[in-house]
């Protein structure tokens, strides 16, 4: 089920009413969450429900056995390793099988050996990378004794399948989400209202910005050879906004929706395009995934507490995997390596990237140095997104080279007053609210203390959604 569908518009109020008015106990609430989450997922394709159930059940069992065998490190290692392998195997088959076989066949062909390997027609289950990583983090955390294994199967299934974040994150940690299912939940009016606001802003980003940008990008992207440079740059910028608004919009809706049920999800985006460097960008973009890679791959490899060469190796390993996580295509790996290179350069040049506060903290406008840093980071991000969006590595490089070789101005200019207005609004609101948890977190002081003022803002946003919404598009991150 998509958040931007009429089905969800009916589904959410019904679930909300049953959750708060019918199910009384914590157990009933958890059971309801499991049921409705499976309905939510099964709405897309019920056949893949068994995969979530299998992943959940194996991880649940591994947690129990890990706890039972505490003290026997060797057996614990076997248990956690076998669960990790099983999960990665499922992910590998459904997401990477064809990619690997095609590449192996192509590699052998170069040596004159023909392999008769059959590629299979596999449907990629939506959100498989998200819930698999969530399940993996639980097993590793239990193994590391950061969290106690849960013995309540319903509670665990609710943790893996919680519908707001099931298909596109945030990838929650058991240390944050699981204890919330273990506690009694009471309705929190302020939290629910704040959740609604965050959802509204998420819908604005998705429907007004991302979908309108997508319509233009999809129309022109493959015709890049015939477009003038200015248009190629505009398309790059539009895709940069599209992917941000699409994914952060989804995260906002997910976090807001979870708030309605008394659950706090972690922040996934923190104004990444207001970053002063690429390392800062990655502390603000898809935070749940970046921290996942940091905690479960980068740190175990040695992190930054080892020789310079090893740090560089660690960065490249993590980013190659991160690229591959985004999809079974070399363009994603290339995108990951591009960012790894930038991170290594920042590291070698010892540029201070550990900022305590958001840019221009306590001020309205940034200074010249900050503006330069913002533009440089934004430019590098655009280059990365062009590689990410391209269908092949050669197309990515050709696209980038066409920016410099094609005539600067020519035919084929985008007409889109509405997305310019909406884009400016997005930037202004997010800039002014950059110190807040989300863009519609309104203070209860000044003019905003009057409900009528707040409501006028909400109505204005809803009117923009109704009038400017682009044609419905699926969320980009579903495919990951």
């Amino acid at each position: 089920m998509l958040f931007n569908s009429i089905d969800f518009l009916v589904f959410l109020p019904i679930v909300f009413l049953i959750y708060w008015f019918v199910s009384k106990t914590r157990k009933q609430k958890n059971l309801l969450i499991v049921l409705v989450s499976y309905i939510f997922y099964g709405w897309w394709d019920w056949r893949f429900l068994f995969l979530i159930a299998l992943t959940s059940f194996c991880s649940y069992l591994s947690g129990i056995y890990l706890e039972k065998k505490s003290g026997n490190l060797k057996i614990q290692k076997y248990i956690s390793a076998s669960n990790i392998i099983l999960n990665l195997l499922i992910l590998g088959i459904f997401k990477y099988y064809n990619f690997f076989t095609e590449n192996i066949v192509a590699l052998f062909e170069k040596f004159g050996i023909e392999l008769d390997w059959v590629s299979i027609n596999v449907i990629l289950p939506v959100g498989i990378s998200f819930y698999t990583f969530q399940a993996l983090s639980y097993t590793i955390d239990v193994y590391r004794q950061k969290i106690k294994a849960t013995h309540d199967i319903i509670e665990f299934f609710a943790f893996i399948s919680f519908f707001p974040q099931l298909v596109a994150g945030p990838i929650e940690r058991a240390t944050n989400l699981l204890p919330q299912f273990q506690k009694k939940r009471d309705f929190d009016y302020t939290k629910a209202v704040d959740g609604m606001r965050q959802m509204l802003w998420g819908f604005f980003k998705k429907l007004v910005i991302a979908d309108n940008c997508a319509a233009i990008v999809n129309l022109y992207w493959n015709d890049y050879q015939n477009l003038p440079s200015i248009m190629l740059i505009i398309l790059g910028v539009l895709f940069t906004f599209q992917i941000y608004c699409d994914f952060s919009g989804y995260s906002d809706i997910a976090i807001g929706c979870a708030n309605l049920f008394g659950i706090n999800l972690m922040r996934n985006f923190n104004n990444p395009y207001f970053s002063r460097s690429i390392p800062e960008f990655w502390r603000r973009w898809h935070i749940s995934l970046t921290t996942w890679f940091r905690d479960y791959i980068y740190f175990p490899l040695g992190g930054s507490r080892c020789s310079k060469m090893k740090v560089i190796r660690n960065v490249f390993v993590v980013w190659a995997i991160s690229g591959l996580w985004h999809g079974a295509n070399w363009t994603f790996v290339c995108w990951g390596l591009f960012h790894a290179t930038l991170l290594v350069i920042y590291n070698i040049l010892s540029i201070n990237t550990k900022y305590e506060h958001v840019v221009a903290y306590g001020r309205i406008l940034p200074n010249i140095k900050e503006i330069t840093q913002l533009f440089l980071t934004f430019f590098l991000a655009i280059i990365g997104w062009i590689i990410f969006r391209a269908e092949s590595i050669s197309q990515a490089f050709h696209y980038i080279s066409s920016i410099f070789t094609n005539p600067f101005i020519g035919n084929g200019f985008v007409d889109g007053k509405k997305w310019i207005i909406a884009g400016i609004l997005l930037l202004c609101v997010e800039w002014l609210q950059r110190e807040k948890q989300h863009a519609l977190e309104l203070p209860v002081t000044g003019l905003f203390r009057y409900r009528i003022v707040r409501w006028c803002i909400y109505y204005a946003i809803i009117c923009m959604i109704i009038n400017f919404a682009g044609s419905s598009q699926s969320f980009i991150y579903f495919q990951f």
């Binding site: 009429i6 708060w20 309705f187």
Partner: protein, 280 residues
């Protein structure tokens, strides 16, 4: 409990203006069928309305949006032909219904032209546009007897087909997502095939000549069209018509098209199409 009810109450008050506005707007649009002239794809309602009129035209044009560029169904040209061309998304079944209406109104055309771009024959009522362009205007009891079992089965695959005439849906451009089925044909969809045959039968019953005329196609499609499998219509009675159709496609440079299908300046090419249709 009090806080929960307070939240729901405030929420309901918040959405009330929208509920009032949209209910009023829907009622206003439904009154005198105003939505039929203002809605996205209103040319289909226009074509349906025109198909029920008695006229003196001897030539009738059915067609898709490429045909509509030349023979706009919203305009009438007494020296030319009567055009019911609107959009390919109505499928061949939609074209058949329009033709059936036209004949039922007592019209006796000499020639009926189906002016189509080759890709319009793909339509098997499984497109994202099917809900809005076909179901909303055509899925009425009046037309159901004209729908074959295949069509009815296909309609049942469309999500939420049962509620397509709810006023709020009928008067807006909303449509659910439809997962397009994988095509196992290169040119002619099963429904298209079935209804071309039905149109052919009508032509024999009402004794009019029935011709299929291609519109212009972008050059880069040439290879794809050459790979159309002609055996898909080998056993049909109208195989000659379709073979001629494919052989007579005129290709134009890609730059002549605004998208991959529609012409930038159709008026430049209208004389050529007129010639094909023997029109002035």
């Amino acid at each position: 409990m009090k806080r929960k009810l307070h939240f729901i109450g405030i929420f309901l008050i918040f959405v009330l203006p929208f509920a009032i506005y949209y209910t009023a707007k829907t009622i206003w649009l439904l009154k005198d069928d105003k939505y039929k002239t203002s809605i996205y794809g209103n040319e289909i309602y226009k074509a349906i309305e025109k198909s029920k009129k008695k006229t003196n035209y001897k030539k009738l044009i059915l067609g898709d949006s490429t045909a509509n560029q030349f023979y706009n169904c919203k305009e009438e040209d007494p020296d030319s032909a009567y055009s019911l061309s609107c959009n390919q998304a109505i499928g061949m079944v939609g074209q058949f219904i329009l033709l059936n209406n036209y004949l039922k109104a007592g019209n006796m055309p000499d020639t009926v032209y189906l002016v189509y771009t080759p890709f319009s024959f793909w339509d098997n009522l499984d497109q994202v546009y099917t809900y809005h362009y076909f179901l909303k205007p055509f899925y009425y009891d009046e037309y159901k007897p004209l729908m074959s079992r295949t069509v009815k089965e296909q309609i049942k695959k469309i999500p939420k087909y049962q509620i397509c005439h709810i006023p709020f849906i009928q008067t807006t451009g909303w449509a659910p997502d439809i997962k397009q089925e994988k095509r196992n044909y290169s040119f002619l969809s099963p429904i298209c095939k079935e209804y071309l045959f039905k149109i052919d039968s009508l032509s024999k019953e009402f004794r009019f000549t029935y011709k299929i005329i291609p519109t212009f196609v972008a050059e880069h499609w040439r290879d794809s069209i050459c790979h159309f499998k002609r055996h898909e219509f080998e056993e049909c009675e109208y195989k000659e018509k379709l073979s001629n159709y494919l052989d007579n496609i005129s290709y134009l440079a890609d730059s002549c098209f605004v998208d991959e299908v529609h012409l930038k300046s159709p008026e430049l090419y209208k004389p050529i199409i007129n010639q094909k249709l023997h029109l002035r």
